[in-house]
Protein backbone atom coordinates (compact mmCIF):
# COMPACT_ATOMS: atom_id res chain seq x y z
CA UNK A 1 0.00 0.00 0.00
CA UNK A 2 1.24 3.47 -0.87
CA UNK A 3 2.29 5.46 2.18
CA UNK A 4 0.35 8.69 2.72
CA UNK A 5 1.97 11.99 1.82
CA UNK A 6 3.45 13.78 4.81
CA UNK A 7 3.51 17.35 3.56
CA UNK A 8 0.59 19.32 4.97
CA UNK A 9 -1.91 20.77 2.54
CA UNK A 10 -1.03 24.42 3.08
CA UNK A 11 0.30 27.42 1.17
CA UNK A 12 2.22 28.60 4.23
CA UNK A 13 2.18 32.32 4.94
CA UNK A 14 0.05 32.95 1.85
CA UNK A 15 -2.83 31.43 3.81
CA UNK A 16 -2.37 34.13 6.45
CA UNK A 17 -3.53 36.71 3.93
CA UNK A 18 -6.17 34.74 2.07
CA UNK A 19 -9.41 36.61 2.78
CA UNK A 20 -11.73 34.02 1.25
CA UNK A 21 -14.21 32.60 3.72
CA UNK A 22 -12.78 34.53 6.67
CA UNK A 23 -14.99 35.69 9.51
CA UNK A 24 -14.62 38.90 11.51
CA UNK A 25 -11.82 37.58 13.75
CA UNK A 26 -9.96 36.31 10.69
CA UNK A 27 -10.05 39.78 9.13
CA UNK A 28 -8.66 41.14 12.39
CA UNK A 29 -5.83 38.62 12.14
CA UNK A 30 -5.05 39.53 8.51
CA UNK A 31 -4.94 43.25 9.31
CA UNK A 32 -2.75 42.55 12.34
CA UNK A 33 -0.23 40.64 10.22
CA UNK A 34 -0.21 43.26 7.44
CA UNK A 35 0.30 46.13 9.88
CA UNK A 36 3.03 44.17 11.70
CA UNK A 37 4.96 43.69 8.44
CA UNK A 38 4.37 47.32 7.45
CA UNK A 39 5.58 48.65 10.79
CA UNK A 40 8.66 46.43 10.69
CA UNK A 41 9.57 47.75 7.23
CA UNK A 42 8.94 51.29 8.48
CA UNK A 43 11.25 50.71 11.47
CA UNK A 44 14.14 49.91 9.12
CA UNK A 45 13.36 52.93 6.91
CA UNK A 46 13.20 55.08 10.04
CA UNK A 47 16.64 53.92 11.14
CA UNK A 48 18.04 54.72 7.70
CA UNK A 49 16.51 58.19 7.94
CA UNK A 50 18.00 58.73 11.38
CA UNK A 51 21.35 57.80 9.89
CA UNK A 52 21.10 61.01 7.84
CA UNK A 53 21.67 62.94 11.06
CA UNK A 54 25.19 61.62 11.15
CA UNK A 55 25.87 62.90 7.62
CA UNK A 56 25.68 66.57 8.53
CA UNK A 57 23.06 69.34 8.36
CA UNK A 58 22.89 69.50 4.55
CA UNK A 59 22.04 65.84 4.14
CA UNK A 60 19.44 66.13 6.89
CA UNK A 61 17.83 69.26 5.39
CA UNK A 62 17.62 67.72 1.94
CA UNK A 63 16.00 64.64 3.45
CA UNK A 64 13.42 66.79 5.30
CA UNK A 65 12.59 68.56 2.02
CA UNK A 66 12.17 65.16 0.38
CA UNK A 67 9.93 63.96 3.24
CA UNK A 68 7.45 66.78 2.64
CA UNK A 69 6.38 65.30 -0.71
CA UNK A 70 2.73 64.15 -0.82
CA UNK A 71 3.71 60.52 -1.41
CA UNK A 72 5.87 60.44 1.72
CA UNK A 73 3.12 62.14 3.72
CA UNK A 74 0.71 59.47 2.51
CA UNK A 75 3.22 56.87 3.73
CA UNK A 76 3.33 58.58 7.13
CA UNK A 77 -0.45 58.42 7.23
CA UNK A 78 -0.29 54.66 6.60
CA UNK A 79 2.22 54.33 9.46
CA UNK A 80 -0.20 56.09 11.82
CA UNK A 81 -3.14 53.93 10.68
CA UNK A 82 -1.05 50.77 11.00
CA UNK A 83 0.40 51.76 14.38
CA UNK A 84 -2.99 52.67 15.82
CA UNK A 85 -4.65 49.50 14.59
CA UNK A 86 -1.80 47.21 15.65
CA UNK A 87 -1.53 48.76 19.10
CA UNK A 88 -5.25 48.84 19.82
CA UNK A 89 -5.73 45.30 18.51
CA UNK A 90 -2.88 44.26 20.81
CA UNK A 91 -4.91 45.57 23.74
CA UNK A 92 -7.93 43.59 22.50
CA UNK A 93 -5.89 40.38 22.26
CA UNK A 94 -4.29 40.98 25.65
CA UNK A 95 -7.71 41.44 27.26
CA UNK A 96 -8.94 38.25 25.60
CA UNK A 97 -5.82 36.42 26.76
CA UNK A 98 -6.73 37.24 30.36
CA UNK A 99 -10.16 35.74 29.69
CA UNK A 100 -11.78 39.19 29.48
CA UNK A 101 -14.61 39.81 26.98
CA UNK A 102 -13.81 36.83 24.76
CA UNK A 103 -17.44 36.39 23.63
CA UNK A 104 -17.38 40.08 22.64
CA UNK A 105 -14.20 39.80 20.54
CA UNK A 106 -16.05 40.87 17.38
CA UNK A 107 -17.47 43.97 19.05
CA UNK A 108 -14.02 44.76 20.45
CA UNK A 109 -12.60 44.54 16.93
CA UNK A 110 -15.25 46.94 15.65
CA UNK A 111 -14.25 49.26 18.50
CA UNK A 112 -10.58 48.95 17.51
CA UNK A 113 -11.45 49.83 13.91
CA UNK A 114 -13.59 52.77 15.03
CA UNK A 115 -10.86 54.20 17.27
CA UNK A 116 -8.29 53.68 14.51
CA UNK A 117 -10.50 55.61 12.10
CA UNK A 118 -11.07 58.49 14.52
CA UNK A 119 -7.39 58.67 15.53
CA UNK A 120 -6.27 58.58 11.90
CA UNK A 121 -8.70 61.34 10.92
CA UNK A 122 -7.46 63.57 13.74
CA UNK A 123 -3.84 62.95 12.77
CA UNK A 124 -4.56 63.45 9.06
CA UNK A 125 -6.31 66.77 9.64
CA UNK A 126 -3.50 68.01 11.91
CA UNK A 127 -0.90 66.92 9.35
CA UNK A 128 -2.69 68.76 6.52
CA UNK A 129 -3.12 71.85 8.70
CA UNK A 130 0.61 71.88 9.48
CA UNK A 131 1.57 71.95 5.79
Amino acid sequence: MESPAKKPNTRGILDWFDPRGRQVGGWGFILNRLTAIGLTVYLYLHLVMLGKLAQGPEAYDSFIAFAKQPLIMFGEMLVIIGGLYHGLNGVRIALNSFGVAVPAQKQLLYGVLGLTLVGSLIFGLRMLAAH
Binding site: P8, N9, W16, G21, G26, S97, P103, Q105
Partner: protein, 248 residues
Protein backbone atom coordinates in the same frame (compact mmCIF):
# COMPACT_ATOMS: atom_id res chain seq x y z
CA UNK B 1 -37.79 17.50 0.79
CA UNK B 2 -39.14 19.75 -1.98
CA UNK B 3 -39.50 18.64 -5.61
CA UNK B 4 -37.40 21.60 -6.70
CA UNK B 5 -34.35 20.70 -8.79
CA UNK B 6 -31.15 22.68 -9.21
CA UNK B 7 -28.28 22.21 -11.59
CA UNK B 8 -25.02 22.58 -9.70
CA UNK B 9 -21.40 22.30 -10.87
CA UNK B 10 -19.32 20.37 -8.36
CA UNK B 11 -15.69 21.40 -8.89
CA UNK B 12 -13.83 18.69 -7.04
CA UNK B 13 -10.19 18.64 -5.94
CA UNK B 14 -8.42 15.55 -7.23
CA UNK B 15 -5.01 14.23 -6.27
CA UNK B 16 -3.59 10.73 -6.49
CA UNK B 17 -0.24 9.69 -5.08
CA UNK B 18 2.56 12.07 -6.03
CA UNK B 19 0.58 13.46 -8.96
CA UNK B 20 -0.19 17.14 -9.33
CA UNK B 21 -3.51 18.24 -7.86
CA UNK B 22 -6.20 19.38 -10.25
CA UNK B 23 -9.92 20.11 -10.28
CA UNK B 24 -12.58 18.06 -12.03
CA UNK B 25 -16.07 19.38 -12.72
CA UNK B 26 -19.21 17.26 -12.38
CA UNK B 27 -22.57 18.79 -13.27
CA UNK B 28 -25.38 17.30 -11.20
CA UNK B 29 -29.09 17.78 -10.88
CA UNK B 30 -29.80 17.97 -7.16
CA UNK B 31 -32.49 18.98 -4.75
CA UNK B 32 -31.38 22.17 -2.99
CA UNK B 33 -32.45 20.58 0.28
CA UNK B 34 -29.98 17.74 -0.12
CA UNK B 35 -26.66 18.00 1.65
CA UNK B 36 -23.28 18.52 0.04
CA UNK B 37 -22.18 14.98 0.98
CA UNK B 38 -25.16 13.64 -1.02
CA UNK B 39 -23.75 15.28 -4.13
CA UNK B 40 -20.25 13.95 -3.47
CA UNK B 41 -21.65 10.44 -2.95
CA UNK B 42 -23.60 10.71 -6.19
CA UNK B 43 -20.43 11.65 -8.07
CA UNK B 44 -18.76 8.54 -6.65
CA UNK B 45 -21.77 6.31 -7.36
CA UNK B 46 -22.64 7.42 -10.88
CA UNK B 47 -19.72 9.34 -12.35
CA UNK B 48 -16.34 8.33 -10.96
CA UNK B 49 -15.76 5.38 -8.64
CA UNK B 50 -12.17 6.46 -8.12
CA UNK B 51 -13.18 9.52 -6.09
CA UNK B 52 -11.85 9.10 -2.55
CA UNK B 53 -13.70 10.77 0.32
CA UNK B 54 -14.60 9.92 3.90
CA UNK B 55 -18.02 9.73 5.51
CA UNK B 56 -19.88 7.54 7.94
CA UNK B 57 -22.77 8.66 10.11
CA UNK B 58 -24.52 11.30 7.96
CA UNK B 59 -25.69 13.17 11.08
CA UNK B 60 -22.72 15.17 12.38
CA UNK B 61 -21.60 12.65 14.95
CA UNK B 62 -18.56 10.97 13.42
CA UNK B 63 -16.78 14.06 12.07
CA UNK B 64 -15.48 12.16 9.04
CA UNK B 65 -16.91 14.25 6.21
CA UNK B 66 -15.20 17.58 6.90
CA UNK B 67 -14.22 19.36 3.65
CA UNK B 68 -13.82 22.89 2.38
CA UNK B 69 -16.90 24.01 0.51
CA UNK B 70 -16.33 27.17 -1.53
CA UNK B 71 -13.31 27.90 0.63
CA UNK B 72 -14.99 27.45 3.99
CA UNK B 73 -14.63 24.44 6.30
CA UNK B 74 -17.91 22.55 6.53
CA UNK B 75 -19.20 19.27 7.83
CA UNK B 76 -20.75 18.27 4.53
CA UNK B 77 -23.42 16.00 6.02
CA UNK B 78 -25.15 18.99 7.65
CA UNK B 79 -24.43 21.59 4.96
CA UNK B 80 -27.47 22.01 2.76
CA UNK B 81 -26.74 22.76 -0.88
CA UNK B 82 -29.29 25.59 -0.71
CA UNK B 83 -27.18 27.34 1.93
CA UNK B 84 -23.90 27.37 0.01
CA UNK B 85 -24.78 27.90 -3.66
CA UNK B 86 -27.62 28.74 -6.04
CA UNK B 87 -29.31 27.14 -9.02
CA UNK B 88 -26.72 27.06 -11.82
CA UNK B 89 -24.00 27.84 -9.29
CA UNK B 90 -20.74 26.16 -8.36
CA UNK B 91 -19.61 24.17 -5.36
CA UNK B 92 -15.86 24.00 -5.02
CA UNK B 93 -15.08 20.93 -2.91
CA UNK B 94 -11.57 20.67 -1.44
CA UNK B 95 -9.90 18.66 1.30
CA UNK B 96 -9.18 20.20 4.69
CA UNK B 97 -6.11 22.43 4.92
CA UNK B 98 -3.10 21.95 7.17
CA UNK B 99 -3.19 18.14 6.99
CA UNK B 100 -1.39 16.00 4.40
CA UNK B 101 -3.70 14.91 1.59
CA UNK B 102 -3.85 11.12 1.29
CA UNK B 103 -6.01 11.05 -1.82
CA UNK B 104 -8.60 13.45 -3.30
CA UNK B 105 -10.71 14.68 -0.39
CA UNK B 106 -9.19 12.53 2.36
CA UNK B 107 -6.50 13.90 4.66
CA UNK B 108 -4.20 12.30 7.23
CA UNK B 109 -5.53 13.54 10.59
CA UNK B 110 -2.69 12.07 12.67
CA UNK B 111 -1.68 15.56 13.77
CA UNK B 112 -5.01 15.95 15.59
CA UNK B 113 -5.02 12.48 17.16
CA UNK B 114 -1.40 12.73 18.34
CA UNK B 115 -2.26 16.05 19.97
CA UNK B 116 -5.30 14.54 21.67
CA UNK B 117 -3.07 11.82 23.10
CA UNK B 118 -0.65 14.47 24.41
CA UNK B 119 -3.42 16.06 26.46
CA UNK B 120 -4.71 12.65 27.60
CA UNK B 121 -7.97 12.98 25.70
CA UNK B 122 -8.54 9.45 24.39
CA UNK B 123 -10.68 9.12 21.30
CA UNK B 124 -12.93 6.59 22.99
CA UNK B 125 -13.90 6.79 26.65
CA UNK B 126 -14.68 3.57 28.52
CA UNK B 127 -18.38 3.54 29.42
CA UNK B 128 -17.48 3.51 33.12
CA UNK B 129 -15.80 6.90 32.69
CA UNK B 130 -18.47 8.47 30.51
CA UNK B 131 -19.85 11.67 32.03
CA UNK B 132 -23.50 10.69 32.13
CA UNK B 133 -26.25 13.15 33.01
CA UNK B 134 -23.81 15.90 33.80
CA UNK B 135 -21.75 13.91 36.30
CA UNK B 136 -18.08 14.38 35.77
CA UNK B 137 -18.57 17.47 33.65
CA UNK B 138 -17.41 20.43 35.67
CA UNK B 139 -17.65 23.55 33.54
CA UNK B 140 -15.49 26.53 34.43
CA UNK B 141 -17.05 29.23 36.59
CA UNK B 142 -18.04 31.53 33.76
CA UNK B 143 -18.97 29.09 31.02
CA UNK B 144 -21.61 30.63 28.72
CA UNK B 145 -25.10 29.27 29.19
CA UNK B 146 -27.40 28.29 26.35
CA UNK B 147 -30.66 30.05 27.15
CA UNK B 148 -30.11 29.29 30.83
CA UNK B 149 -31.22 25.71 30.30
CA UNK B 150 -28.16 23.70 29.55
CA UNK B 151 -24.46 24.09 29.31
CA UNK B 152 -23.01 24.50 25.88
CA UNK B 153 -22.00 21.12 24.49
CA UNK B 154 -18.86 20.85 26.53
CA UNK B 155 -17.80 17.37 25.63
CA UNK B 156 -19.02 17.43 22.06
CA UNK B 157 -15.84 17.80 20.08
CA UNK B 158 -16.29 15.30 17.26
CA UNK B 159 -12.63 15.60 16.20
CA UNK B 160 -13.58 16.57 12.67
CA UNK B 161 -10.48 18.76 12.26
CA UNK B 162 -12.35 21.73 10.77
CA UNK B 163 -10.84 24.05 13.39
CA UNK B 164 -7.26 23.07 12.54
CA UNK B 165 -8.01 23.53 8.84
CA UNK B 166 -9.50 27.00 9.41
CA UNK B 167 -6.70 28.15 11.75
CA UNK B 168 -4.34 30.46 9.80
CA UNK B 169 -1.51 29.74 12.23
CA UNK B 170 -1.74 25.94 11.98
CA UNK B 171 -0.55 26.16 8.37
CA UNK B 172 2.79 27.68 9.31
CA UNK B 173 3.36 25.94 12.65
CA UNK B 174 3.19 22.19 12.18
CA UNK B 175 3.97 21.53 15.85
CA UNK B 176 1.14 23.76 17.08
CA UNK B 177 -1.28 21.67 19.13
CA UNK B 178 -4.24 23.40 17.51
CA UNK B 179 -7.70 24.48 18.63
CA UNK B 180 -9.38 21.10 19.21
CA UNK B 181 -6.48 19.78 21.29
CA UNK B 182 -6.26 22.93 23.42
CA UNK B 183 -10.04 22.83 23.89
CA UNK B 184 -9.70 19.25 25.14
CA UNK B 185 -7.06 20.41 27.63
CA UNK B 186 -9.24 23.30 28.78
CA UNK B 187 -12.15 20.95 29.32
CA UNK B 188 -10.09 18.97 31.79
CA UNK B 189 -8.79 22.13 33.50
CA UNK B 190 -5.32 22.70 34.93
CA UNK B 191 -6.59 22.31 38.49
CA UNK B 192 -7.83 18.79 37.85
CA UNK B 193 -5.00 17.89 35.50
CA UNK B 194 -1.96 19.98 36.57
CA UNK B 195 0.41 17.89 34.46
CA UNK B 196 -1.17 19.41 31.35
CA UNK B 197 0.43 22.76 32.17
CA UNK B 198 3.78 21.83 30.65
CA UNK B 199 2.06 20.53 27.50
CA UNK B 200 0.02 23.68 26.86
CA UNK B 201 2.17 26.43 28.43
CA UNK B 202 4.73 26.52 25.64
CA UNK B 203 5.37 28.18 22.29
CA UNK B 204 3.37 25.56 20.38
CA UNK B 205 0.61 25.50 22.97
CA UNK B 206 -1.72 28.30 24.06
CA UNK B 207 0.76 31.03 23.12
CA UNK B 208 0.86 30.10 19.43
CA UNK B 209 -2.79 31.14 18.96
CA UNK B 210 -3.11 34.55 17.29
CA UNK B 211 -6.77 35.11 18.11
CA UNK B 212 -8.28 34.85 14.63
CA UNK B 213 -11.25 32.91 16.10
CA UNK B 214 -11.76 31.08 12.78
CA UNK B 215 -11.87 27.83 14.78
CA UNK B 216 -14.96 28.97 16.64
CA UNK B 217 -16.55 30.24 13.42
CA UNK B 218 -16.34 26.85 11.67
CA UNK B 219 -16.87 24.47 14.61
CA UNK B 220 -20.02 22.46 13.81
CA UNK B 221 -20.47 21.32 17.39
CA UNK B 222 -20.48 24.53 19.46
CA UNK B 223 -17.25 23.62 21.21
CA UNK B 224 -16.08 27.26 20.84
CA UNK B 225 -12.34 26.44 20.77
CA UNK B 226 -11.36 30.13 20.54
CA UNK B 227 -12.98 30.90 23.88
CA UNK B 228 -11.48 27.73 25.40
CA UNK B 229 -7.94 28.65 24.31
CA UNK B 230 -8.34 32.08 25.91
CA UNK B 231 -9.72 30.49 29.07
CA UNK B 232 -6.78 28.08 29.12
CA UNK B 233 -4.42 31.06 28.84
CA UNK B 234 -6.20 32.60 31.83
CA UNK B 235 -5.69 29.35 33.75
CA UNK B 236 -2.01 29.25 32.79
CA UNK B 237 -1.50 32.87 33.86
CA UNK B 238 -3.35 32.30 37.15
CA UNK B 239 -1.12 29.30 37.85
CA UNK B 240 2.04 31.31 37.08
CA UNK B 241 0.96 34.20 39.32
CA UNK B 242 0.16 31.74 42.10
CA UNK B 243 3.66 30.26 41.73
CA UNK B 244 5.25 33.72 42.00
CA UNK B 245 3.57 34.11 45.38
CA UNK B 246 4.78 30.73 46.55
CA UNK B 247 1.67 28.70 45.75
CA UNK B 248 1.81 25.13 44.47
Amino acid sequence: MSEEKWTVNFVVYRKKGDGEPHYQTFTLEVSPDEYVIDGVERIWAFHDRSLVFAHACHHSTCGACGMRVNGVEKLTCITRIRDVTKNGGTLRIEPLRNFPVISDLVVDMSRLYVGMDKVHAPAVHPLSLAPLEGEGIKPPRDVPMDGGKEYLRLADCIECGLCISACPVAGTAEEYLGPAVLAAAQLQGLKRAPDLAEVVDCVDGVWRCHSAYECTAVCPSNVDPGWRIMDLRRQVLAQRIKRWFGGA
